[in-house]
Structures are given as C-alpha cells and as structure tokens.
Symmetry: C2
C-alpha cells in the first residue's frame, strides 16, 4: 500500500514507520520537525520505499501536492501535540496541533478520496474517573486540552467516516514508553537524576497509578487491530490492564541508574493541572480479538528505563 | 446578572432572550444575522436591559471589546450552524460555525474570567443507535458534521471547565419546534404544501421516529436545570421521552391546513446523509431533578404546526 504517516518523525510515529517499511509498504512521512526529529528516521532515509517530507500539515497548498503525488491508500494520522502540560498553559496548542491537524487530514482525505484511516487516540479522552475504561465508556469529559483535542478529532473522524465512507481504526493509547521518547515521567526522572544524582523531585505524591505500554508492543497491537478488525469504524483501547505507580517508577529509575538518591515529593494527588492521576483500562475487547501486550506495565517501564539509559 | 447570549437572534436563542430579559437580567446578544433574524428580537430592542450587537463571534477584536464592556457573569452559547444537511455538503460549515465559535467563546471567557457557561448541545452527538440515550451513553459516534462540531465543542468545554474553573451547564436538545423556526420537517412541510396543496413529498419512508419538544418548554427546562443543578459540570438531556413519526407529522400538517393532499414518500430509511432516522431519549436524570416537558412529542408537534400557521 501507499501510506502517509503524519508525525512520522515523532516518538511513536517513527517506530510505526520501522514496522510499515519492513512490511514492504511505500511509506511517506510528513512531519514539521517541531516535535519530531530527523534522527528518529535517519536509518530509513536511504530505503527505496521510504520518503520524508518536511512540511506542516496545516500548509494546505503543500499538502495538496503531497496527496496528489502520493496516491495514498491509507493515512496513519499521528501528528499532534504531545506535551499535555504545555497545552494546559495555552489552549491554542492543542486546538492547532492536536485538533486542526486532524480536520486538515480529513479534508484532504475526502478531497483525494483516500478511504482508510488510522488515528492515534488516547485514554485522555475519558477524563478523570476511577471506573475501568471500556471503549463504550461514558460520559467522556476530558480534563486536558490535549484530551479535548483528541476527542474533538474522534468526533469529526466519526462523521467523516460515516458521511464519506472512510474505513477507520482508532486505538486509544495509555502512557507509551521506550526508545526515542521526548517527554513523560521516565524521561524526566532520568534527566533530573543526571543533573542531580543525590535527589529526585517527584511531582505529586507518587501515588499516581496508570498503565504503561512499551512502544514496540504498541506498534504490534496497532498492526494486529488493523489486520483483524473489519468494521467501517473500529475503536480499541490498547495497552495493558496492569498499572504502575509513579513512586515505583522513581525507584526503578534510581535502581537502574545505580544511584542512592532521596525522593522528594511535591505533594498533591497529581503532577499538574490536566493530569489524570489514576486510570484503569479494560482491554477485553482487544484481548477477545486475539492480542495482549507482551510486556505488562511494570516490565514496560523497566524496559523503557533501560533503553533510555542506552542499556 | 450580566449575560451574553451568542446566537440570540436565532430560533431558540431569541426565546431564551425573552425569558432572560423578563427575569430582569441584563442581556447582550451577539449575532451575525447569517442564520438569526432581527425580527426575532425586535420586540426586545427598546428594553433597558437588552442590547443587540451585530457581530461575528470569530471577529476577535470586536469580541474583545464586547467582553471588556459587558463584564459578563455568564455566557449562554447558542451560536452554531443549524442546517445539518448543509454541513454534510461542506464540512467547513460545522467546523467554523458550530465548533470554532465555541472555541472562540471559551478563549474569551478564559481571558475575561467569566466563570459560568450554558451550552446548547444536541442528541446528534450520540450518533445512530436504537439504544435509549442516557447522558452517560457511549460510544459517542456522531454521523453528521453538525453532531461532530457539537461533540468537539463539549470536549473543549469539559477541559476548559476543569482547567480554568468554569461552572458549566450543557443541555442536549432533540428536535425543537415552535414559533420562529427556520428549518426542519414542520417548516418544510408547510412550505411545500403552500406551494402545492395537492401533494406532499416526504423525504424517506416516513417511519423516521424522534422526540420533538416545543421551544418554550425547552427554555423552561434550560432555566430549571441551571437553577437546580450545582455541580461544576452539569449535563442533561432535555425534551420528551415520547416520539413522533414523520408520517404522523405529515398527517397533522395536512389536517391543520385543512387540505386533502396525497403523500409521496421518496423512500429509504432516512431523509438525507447524516440524518439519524430514529432515536430515543432517557430523561430520568432531568425528571429526577424535578422537571418534565409540559407537552409530549405529539402535542409539541401539533402546537408548532398551529403556531407555524399563525393560529
């Protein structure tokens, strides 16, 4: 297939490109390199079935040309803001990078009659609840502009899919960890401990408890869902039904770095405004389809720490 | 209170203005008169506690001035596209008029620290399902760009409410009928029968079955919900748990017009792409709060026909 990956130079996007090029697809990446990095895809640049275009998805004239020339069978839309805290400080960040990019991609797909779409969604659309989250959970009340931008994206994807006949796969990610990450708790802890090996500041009380998934497992799950679900509109939670506390992550990072750092908690039940301190995934839908993550949440975190330390 | 009503010259907005001015509030209406009409509010223009500003909500410099001068305690945000079929032909209509207007209002409220919001939402956010719709229903998979624009609005409203402390009331309307309507099945039938009293063309097979609510009942419900629910984020379905078939509406219009017209069905289970042919509301949440609509669905339709005919 001729495939467009938006945000393909990013953390998750670049792993997806590894997988899609290895499977023999013709892959075009569009990335504006604001969050993505050429280093993430430099090993793919000399492949015949891989093409990188540095462009902004909101640059309509350029994107018209990309779609005209690419003759895409399918779009994997991953381009988005990935810094939830930044989006909380300025709502325009997620309005523009998380939502408007999606609407632009949908308009391009409609005009150029591309009929298959994968969309990278998130647990953040569910908002803050201690209930176990199934794909049919309601109400959907996101507490971050990032979650809002993703839910707004899902809303228009649903309407476009129905109105213009676009077969769609949406997978909702929990926290994703592993090689090439650029933000998040593990990344932050390693950075902080390199700056000060004696003490680690942890935002919140350390009791925040969420599922983590290793990025290569996530890519495996995405491929599995697309290959094995055949409705017009397919939605799956992906990840792990096990969870890891932030205090456990702190301990693992300190251990893997061979340090004896003291942990200082800033207090409060969450890291920042818009953070969801706790959630729980029901993965019975994707399990029933035949997939479960090779690593549980703790093993994913451990692996990501080791990869982050270059082990 | 100092209140801003966006879309206040529209069908539902103008009835809301009647109610809010009668209750003694200082009401400012912003409407660009693309869908709204001055006639709808002309009887309010000489009141001391009513002010009309012809402006587009997306005109940021003008709206900055409106907010600076208005010192609003609360915003009732009703401005939106109301023509679902038009939105299906061009997705930019609902992107711009239904969603971007909401985002603009939220940004203005954040900047000017307005802490109370009412939002007019819709059954269209739920998509197409024969299930009975509670406020916690999931999945939310709108089939029209209008429904998508409203769900996208709810998503950012949820995040702004949580992040910036805006107390919010969202009510989700079914089909609303009554004086001043500008579109919809009753409006269309009267118009068609005035042009040709011998035959009425009905889109679909006439079996489409939905709840209808009389506009003044709806306004009563909105006021009741705002007065009696006190959470930070309050969501209620409003309307009737009874329903009316399109073929029954056709018969009632013909009867009220004193005609003997033949009905010709265009066939198919729905009126147009993006139409939801059937839905059912669970109103137990608003009933438990102490409100139910004075007129059921059939009585609302009958009343709206009579008002539409100037009876």
């Amino acid at each position: 297939m001729n495939i467009l990956v938006t945000g393909g130079a990013g953390f998750i996007g670049s792993h997806l490109c590894d997988s899609l090029t290895a499977a023999g697809h013709n892959v075009t990446v569009v990335d504006n390199l604001v969050l993505g990095k050429v280093e993430n895809i430099s090993h793919l640049l000399d492949k015949d079935n891989f093409k990188f275009i540095e462009a902004d998805i909101l640059d309509t004239p350029v994107m018209e040309g990309v779609f005209r020339e690419g003759k895409f069978d399918m779009v994997y839309h991953l381009a988005a803001n990935s810094d939830i805290q930044k989006g909380g400080r300025d709502p325009l960040v997620d309005y523009t990078l998380t939502f408007n990019t999606t609407f632009a991609v949908l308009q391009l797909m409609k005009e150029h009659e591309v009929k298959k779409l994968f969309f990278a969604s998130t647990s953040a659309i569910y908002g803050e609840t201690s209930d176990c989250l199934t794909e049919n959970y309601g109400p959907l009340q996101p507490v971050s502009n990032y979650g809002a931008g993703k839910l707004a994206s899902e809303a228009f994807i649903s309407a476009f899919s129905s109105t213009y006949g676009i077969q769609t796969w949406i997978t909702r990610f929990p926290n994703v960890v592993g090689e090439r990450f650029t933000h998040g708790v593990i990344f932050d802890f390693i950075k902080k401990l390199r700056a000060n090996p004696a003490e680690l500041e942890v935002l919140g009380n350390g009791e925040q408890c969420k599922p983590y998934v290793y990025v290569k497992d996530l890519i495996d799950g995405i491929n599995f869902v697309i290959a094995n679900s055949h409705d017009r509109f397919n939605v799956y939670n992906l990840g792990s039904d096990s969870r890891t506390k932030v205090k456990e992550i702190a301990a693992m990072v300190i251990e893997e770095m061979g340090l004896d750092a003291a942990i200082r908690y800033t207090g409060g039940d969450r890291g920042w405004v818009g953070d969801v301190p706790e959630f729980r995934y029901d993965l019975s839908k994707v399990n029933a389809l035949g997939w479960s993550a090779p690593h549980d949440s703790n093993a994913s975190v451990r692996l990501a720490i080791q990869k982050g330390l270059g082990k």
